[in-house]
């Protein structure tokens, strides 16, 4: 048992160096972005000492760029900053909404999409929206950098694919190009500030006749990890995204779900609701694609 310590390295290299040397010496480390999960964990069931490595001082984690081909969201960008960015909101409304659903005004001022992903909860609201948007994790470590699709990042409840010497620098999201829309919906029993019982994110691209040419569907809170559901996307591609196609996509989401029963909902309820959310998010994504 060591002591708690805090470091805010000034460069990506020195951050990797610190993470690597700590891993080599057996020091437990935890990377800190917004802290809205980390500080709660430190005060609840996981009080053990560790080295807190704050990545908010790095210029690279504070980047938010909206490029022709790629939108890059640094790992330290708070949800409130995303929500205040009108261009981002118009390009990726579903992704911004998924971040905006998390917590109060106070939480929004700190919480980050990167942190929501690295916390790797099955119910993390931004994760199905990131999956639907084909987002890729930009990870750096002592072996260099690598890019991991979000659907491959989370490996279990609260675990992910990063090694102790690695951390998430940012997220790369393919920029939507015309006739494309995204949406994320979750179900909670209150109007806001709760943990998802189920969630579904959809991104669609239509051609000029309204036929769906590309689709991605992500679901959350209905399996040990958020999931990409290719069968739901297949049910939409080539259709007008009408009621029959959306019903088929909903059925595919329900079939892909393997939820648990807990205080927020039963297995049967979650299986049903994730399909309904897919259908409704699909309708919103379709209408946004037509309007884009």
């Amino acid at each position: 048992m060591g002591d708690y310590a805090y470091a805010a390295p000034a460069s990506v290299d020195s951050t990797i160096e610190l993470l690597s040397s700590s891993a080599d010496s057996g020091t437990r480390t935890q990377v800190l972005a917004g802290g809205t999960d980390v500080l709660v964990q430190m005060r609840s069931n996981d009080r053990g000492p560790r080295l807190i490595v704050d990545i908010k001082q790095l210029a690279e984690t504070n980047v938010l760029t909206i490029g022709e081909d790629e939108i890059y969201i640094g790992a330290a960008i708070a949800s409130a900053i995303l929500n205040e960015n009108a261009e981002l909101k118009s390009r990726l409304p579903g992704l911004v909404e998924s971040a905006d659903l998390i917590g109060s005004t106070q939480i929004q001022g700190r919480a980050t999409i990167g942190g929501n992903l690295c916390n790797s909860s099955p119910a993390g609201d931004t994760i199905p929206a990131l999956i639907a948007n084909s987002a890729v994790c930009h990870i750096v470590g002592s072996d260099g950098e690598r890019n991991v699709p979000v659907e491959d990042f989370v490996t279990g409840v609260g675990t992910n694919c990063m090694a102790p010497h690695e951390f998430l620098l940012g997220l790369r999201v393919p920029a939507p190009k015309g006739n494309t829309g995204d949406a994320y919906l979750r179900f909670i029993p209150r109007t806001e500030m709760d943990i998802a019982v189920a969630g579904a994110g959809v991104r669609l691209t239509l051609d000029d006749s309204g036929t769906c040419t590309a689709a991605r569907v992500g679901i959350g809170a209905v399996a040990p990890t958020p999931l990409l559901v290719p069968e739901a996307a297949d049910a939409l591609v080539g259709t007008q995204v009408d009621a029959a196609a959306l019903d088929a996509a909903a059925a595919a989401c329900s079939a892909a779900a393997s939820p648990i029963t807990d205080k927020r909902g039963t297995v049967e309820y979650r299986i049903k609701v994730v399909g309904v959310l897919c259908k409704r998010a699909g309708e919103i994504a379709r209408d946004r694609a037509k309007a884009s």
Binding site: D3, Y4, Y6, G35, T36, I52, A80, G103, T105, Q106
Partner: protein
């Protein structure tokens, strides 16, 4: 534990303080700097009693490490009044009896002030959503919402 030395600006005053690496900013304000106006309710970011402004953004000080305050600007409830003169929001909380036990009140006032600086003319729905991260178990919220609406009106056209 190796303490961390931080230099920060609180309510316009430069301050230096030593913090434990796992102290929250709330611990630092209350125990390190003696600014006990900011209250601890839940300590998990649910109740908003510990709301402060950090570089101009409303946050729960229980979810920020004291060490993260290095080089930052912090504004707390102690900086809201001008000497003995209450801020309009504070005055309206009194007039509308928008507090009973008072534990949530500093957080509500800091949060309401942040709202009115961003949006001087919020409707009731906006006020309720903005303040949804501040919990009050006494008032039932109506009096708080009315106090904030009245403060907004008075700030827009001072009597």
């Amino acid at each position: 534990m190796a303490k961390v030395h931080i230099s920060t600006t609180v309510n316009g005053q430069p301050m230096d303080v030593l913090v434990e690496p796992n102290d929250s900013l709330l611990d630092t304000l209350r125990d390190g700097l003696g600014l006990t106006g900011t209250k601890e309710g839940c300590a998990t970011g649910d109740c908003g009693a510990c709301s402060v402004m950090l570089d101009g953004r409303l946050v729960c000080s229980c979810l920020v490490l004291g060490a993260e305050a290095e080089g930052k600007t912090i504004d707390t409830i102690e900086g809201v009044a001008d000497g003995d003169g209450l801020h309009v929001i504070q005055q309206k909380f009194l007039e509308h009896a928008a507090l009973q036990c008072g534990i949530c009140t500093p957080g509500f006032i800091v949060a309401a002030k942040a709202l009115l600086e961003k949006n001087p003319n919020p409707d009731e729905t906006t006020i309720r959503y903005w303040l949804a991260g501040n919990l009050c178990r006494c008032t039932g919220y109506d009096k708080i919402v009315r106090a904030v609406q009245d403060a907004a009106d008075e700030l827009a056209s001072p009597a």
